[in-house]
Symmetry: C2
Subunit: 334 residues, 2 copies
DNA sequence: CTGAAAGCGCTAACAC
DNA sequence: GTGTTAGCGCTTTCAG
């Protein structure tokens, strides 16, 4: 590997000067700079990022810890975040949590020794903060920026970027009610998912605000995953119990797709007999039949907010809360 | 940050001994080892991975360069690969190529300075190997293992893990023909995607083997993306031209979903009037209505093959070709 | 079996 | 404006 020393030799200067040319902060005479640049060119020199990181005490990688990258919304987030970080010269480390919290803790413990620039916590789970906070604070102390992506930890001093889950859910439910699709059921993970609960809260609030009441029989908790099969099972079970509902509001697009399948299998017309509303705004939603109405999450905006955190180089600013608006997208299913 | 020196001091030994205990290769007296271990415990010491990487000349990160992480199959791959690498103590760097080749080259150029353990090339594009090979070889020379995930570069000396695209496609088409769904159309990217072309080759071979002929009017090239909208547009265009076909074989599940939507919008019953077959085996495929028949890709198996490459620590073994079998999954759409 | 020393490649102090 | 030196934290000779 060609190093600063080699470049320095070739340019007839000291390694320090090469470094100065590279850094661009300290003044170097135009002539020297030119010679160094030429040597760099000729040797095809590229600074060793590892050495830089060791020297600087921190590297240029940001980790995205996600609950399940196979869920469309997480993949969308990963894509947008990677692109945003890249513009800042940062790399993205991907860590799939697989919905297991102890994996998060282990990873967080490794963050300082990896000299990570930051860790984006993007899991929807209810987290055991008493256990996690010490690890998080240790990471922060050693220079790792911790950012929550999805749930609000600003009270714990963690900058948080959060979708307007309750607002989006409320708008969706209001629409369903206004269209006469009552009663409105809810499918999602409430017990163990903060995000799921926020969407549920919006559902509940909207019901109440519109003079409907919350029927426990219409709230379908799912235990595992947030994928289509869970939506299918929950909806089918309700149908089998002869529960009556005019619409299903699902906490993800995948759940909604599963729900629509259950309705179809039960011989119900969507949206005429049951309407469906998803959450996420995934691109395939426009191509199911019926196409899926949904509360669209603005992944690019969330990624931009992440970019902002890392743009200002110093210690992370105030542990604020950034709320990313959602948008109701009406298609055929509701 | 607590370092080997601090641990050494506390244990009353030299840094070298601490390192030996950590390494586990060299013999250390049981008593000394115990003292060191205790000091490590007490101080909460974790070895600095960056320093290790600098010292060792290479790090513990493997990059996955993917065409588009939002495509379900790529997310599935990322998930399985991450999990497999993690078992080997390796981290996954995610780089979304966004279907632009010059981005690949730039990333490859950075690989050595990042001291990457390896780079998984997982883009379906036709690549300009004359341009790329020098960069790849430079990376290999500096210790970065290059592995192709998706297309066969074994002739170029790059170990390759490839799905049985042609075989899977052939089986799918044979099934369509056997079910009397002729003529069979093909949607996919042929011009610029090696993977798309391999699937097309399987389609073509199967047609020929079954006494059907290849009708250029039934081969729908798509230019941008591999997502549902492309499948929709291509299918709709054919329908508008009054092209007749009994089935559509799509090169991805997303394309198939889009195609089914176009058929539905055109008033065609699936599968009675037109059958659809996807490629990928994504989990939501079981929950579209009609549910999607598909050629399932075995992402876990591909990930395991990746694991094998990095398990043997030394220089990568023979630049072999590993073919991952696909499986025909029959559901409602065909 | 253990310690001392060197050095991976880089940059920030400190001279001059 | 530029060179010299030191040291980030680690592991691996080389001695003992």
């Amino acid at each position: 590997m060609v190093s600063v020393v080699a470049v320095a030799k070739r340019a007839g200067v000291s390694p320090a000067t090469v470094s100065r040319v590279l850094g661009g902060q300290v003044r170097v005479s135009a002539e020297t700079r030119a010679r160094v640049l030429q040597a760099i060119e000729e040797l095809g020199y590229r600074p060793n990022e590892v050495a830089r990181s060791l020297r600087a005490g921190r590297g240029r990688a940001v980790a995205l810890v996600t609950g399940d990258i196979e869920q469309g919304i997480n993949a969308a987030l990963a894509k947008n975040v990677q692109s945003e970080l890249e513009a800042l010269g940062l790399d993205l480390l991907l860590f799939n949590m697989e919905h297991r919290e102890e994996r998060l803790r282990h990873f967080l413990e490794r963050a300082p020794s990896l000299a990570l620039r930051g860790v984006l916590l993007s899991a929807p789970h209810v987290m055991d903060m008493p256990t996690l906070l010490p690890v998080i604070q240790a990471a922060i102390r050693s220079g790792v920026a911790i950012v929550s992506l999805g749930q609000d930890f600003s009270a714990e001093g963690i900058p948080s970027i959060v979708n307007d889950n309750a607002g989006g859910a409320a708008a969706a439910v209001a629409h369903l009610i206004a269209s006469g699709r009552t009663p409105v059921a809810f499918v999602g993970r409430i017990e163990t998912s903060v995000v799921g609960r926020a969407r549920f809260d919006g559902y509940r609030a909207s019901l109440l605000a519109n003079g409907e009441d919350v029927d426990a029989g219409l709230v379908w908790e799912i235990s595992e995953g947030y994928r289509a099969d869970a939506g299918y099972q929950a909806t089918r079970a309700a149908l089998k119990r002869n529960v009556h509902f005019g619409a299903v509001f699902a906490a993800s697009d995948e759940l909604a797709l599963g729900g629509m399948a259950a309705a179809a299998d039960h011989g119900l017309a969507v949206p005429d007999e049951v309407a469906f509303m998803g959450f996420g705004g995934l691109s395939w939603g426009a191509f199911s039949r019926p196409s899926l109405s949904t509360v669209a999450i603005d992944a690019p905006a969330a990624a931009r907010a992440v970019g902002e955190v890392f743009k200002a180089d110093g210690p992370p600013g105030a542990a604020g809360l950034t709320i990313i608006p959602t948008k109701l997208v009406l298609r055929q299913s509701a």
